[in-house]
């Protein structure tokens, strides 16, 4: 699109939001359509593909054995990585992770970690020596806005889909046995992101909205309605009241999504 067309569209988006409406017809607190497909990568222990409108994110889970962290010798390790692969957007470049993909990975990680979604103590093989390491790789395939919520959904959906091969310890070595056990996932943290446009907050911004937003805020909520992670982004600001209201709405939206998805 030409720059002029873009500007006109952006003006339209902002004006509509002022009136409590959105260009794609959604209400300010509505999510786009969400489609989740699980188990699509047979070679991964767990996987999922999430469509949030036209935003498409995949997540794959691989499980390996490794050493625990010294301060948590009885717990498995969670590692979240995110790749903004260049086929997803003209603005993504090949190369090592930049600040955007690192922030994305760390926000998704924090939601899972702080809500204690995975029972990491069940991932301990030999205290202080050997534990399971759960790699969650978030793979953004098409960027149409709100990568955080889509990635958090994909990561959780992949974890819920994860099967671990049964094993027994023989002479200190892990021997795999037939059969699978599900990964012990006990919480369902949902990230809810708001964009601030013309001093109003809208849920689940799409790309055009993100391009004109002043700032965004992500509030991740666990099954009990507790807040377990927050991240403000962008070079704008929020009033305390906007934040408190956002938290309230996030808790409602998270509950709604969890019900809709059967989690």
């Amino acid at each position: 699109m030409s720059t002029i067309v873009v500007r006109v569209k952006q003006k339209q988006i902002a004006q509509l939001i002022d009136k409590g409406k959105r260009l794609d017809g959604r209400g300010l607190n509505d999510y786009r359509e969400i489609k989740i497909e699980q188990g699509i990568i047979e070679k991964a222990e767990g996987s999922a593909r999430v469509l949030l409108g036209k935003t498409e994110v995949m997540a794959g889970v691989k499980i390996e054995t490794g050493e625990p962290f010294p301060d948590t010798p009885n717990e498995g390790v969670l590692t979240v990585n995110a790749e903004l692969v260049p086929l997803a957007s003209p603005t993504f470049e090949p190369g090592p992770p930049d600040e955007n993909s690192i922030e994305l990975a760390r926000v998704v990680d924090r939601g899972i970690r702080e809500s204690k979604a995975i029972d990491t103590e069940k991932l301990c093989i030999e205290p202080g020596k050997k534990v399971f390491v759960v790699f969650v790789d978030v793979y953004v395939l098409n960027h149409d806005g709100n990568l955080i919520d889509a990635s958090a959904l994909a990561a959780l959906a992949a974890l819920l889909n994860t099967k671990m091969t049964n094993y027994e310890i023989e002479d200190g070595e892990v021997k795999f046995k037939p059969g699978y056990t599900e990964l012990p996932v006990r919480k369902h943290p949902i990230a809810v992101t708001f964009a601030k446009i013309n001093d109003k907050l809208v849920v689940d911004p799409w790309l055009d909205e993100e391009q004109i937003m002043d700032a965004r805020i992500t509030i991740t909520v666990d099954d009990d309605g507790n807040i377990c992670a927050v991240q403000k982004g962008g070079s704008g600001y929020f009033t305390p009241k906007q934040i408190f209201d956002a938290a309230q709405i996030a808790r409602e939206k998270a509950d709604e999504l969890r019900k809709k998805l059967g989690w």
Binding site: I40, I41, E42, K43, A44, S47, K54, E56, M58, G60, V61, K62, E64, N81, E83, V85, P86, L87, A88, S89, P90, P94, P96, P97, F135, D137, Y139, L141, N142, H143, D144
Partner: protein
């Protein structure tokens, strides 16, 4: 290629996944599935799941890399960390760097690079799941993504592997055949011109086996070519339906 005792072809002459020696795996192709890319395609071939996207023609940075008489074609073949049995580090491996080069050189003969001087085209291939012969499926998808992006081409490029397992020349190697078989011959082909644009081989083959393998791979390419054209047509038809 390391030979092991495992039987790759049974008494009936069928392969591990039940295929006959000259039989392709099930193939599913979709064109134009990514909204941001200028062109895109998705292929499933056996358990291979591969996305290709094209961005361009576009300006080149830094500018002194641009060519005054032609476009620059760039290509990245990349595997998702979860695409293989052991998690793959997302940093490009030596294998991925080599494959990016040979895939680019397999596609380039089809493109009228002189039509867009001083520009660049990026071809991005992401292997979401790998199951043998991924470079061939990647080429098949990448050339569709180029066509979807409206890049003027001499022909579609289509690719397929052949190889040798248990003394038999077979078509379209899957993962185990690739790893345990005695030779792997990936071939890319431009059917209209009847020419080979990618050829690699590893393993051990006599001259005759080598020729047979290439000929078989070309037959495979021709079959996949039909599917490529169908997928393009399907995209074109569905777009027209939407427009009407």
């Amino acid at each position: 290629m390391s030979q092991k005792t495992e039987k790759l072809i049974d008494k009936k002459g069928l392969r591990l996944d039940g295929r006959k020696p000259d039989e392709l795996r099930p193939i599913k192709i979709e064109v134009g599935i990514l909204s941001n890319a200028d062109g895109s395609a998705y292929i499933e071939q056996g358990k291979n799941k591969i996305l290709a996207a094209v961005y361009g023609p576009k300006e080149l940075h830094p500018k002194h890399m641009a060519l005054p008489d032609r476009m620059v074609l760039r290509c990245r073949y990349h595997m998702a960390p979860f695409s293989v049995q052991e998690r793959k580090s997302p940093a490009p491996s030596r294998r991925e760097i080599e494959l990016s080069k040979v895939i680019r050189e397999a596609i380039e003969p089809a493109i009228f690079v002189e039509y867009y001087p001083r520009t660049a085209i990026d071809v991005f291939v992401e292997v979401l799941q790998a199951d043998g012969s991924t470079r061939c499926a990647s080429i098949t998808a990448a050339s569709l993504a180029l066509a979807d992006a409206g890049i003027p081409m001499r022909d579609l490029v289509v690719a397929c592997s052949a190889g040798k397992v248990d003394d038999t020349i077979v078509l379209d190697l899957m993962d185990t055949e690739d790893k345990v078989g005695s030779a792997d011959v990936p071939v890319a082909f431009m059917p209209n011109l009847g020419v080979v644009t990618l050829l690699q081989m590893d393993g051990i083959l006599t001259q005759e086996e080598f020729e047979n393998a290439i000929n078989l791979a070309i037959e495979g390419c021709k079959k996949i070519y039909t599917l490529q054209k169908e997928a393009l047509r399907a995209k074109y038809i569905s777009v027209k339906e939407v427009e009407e």
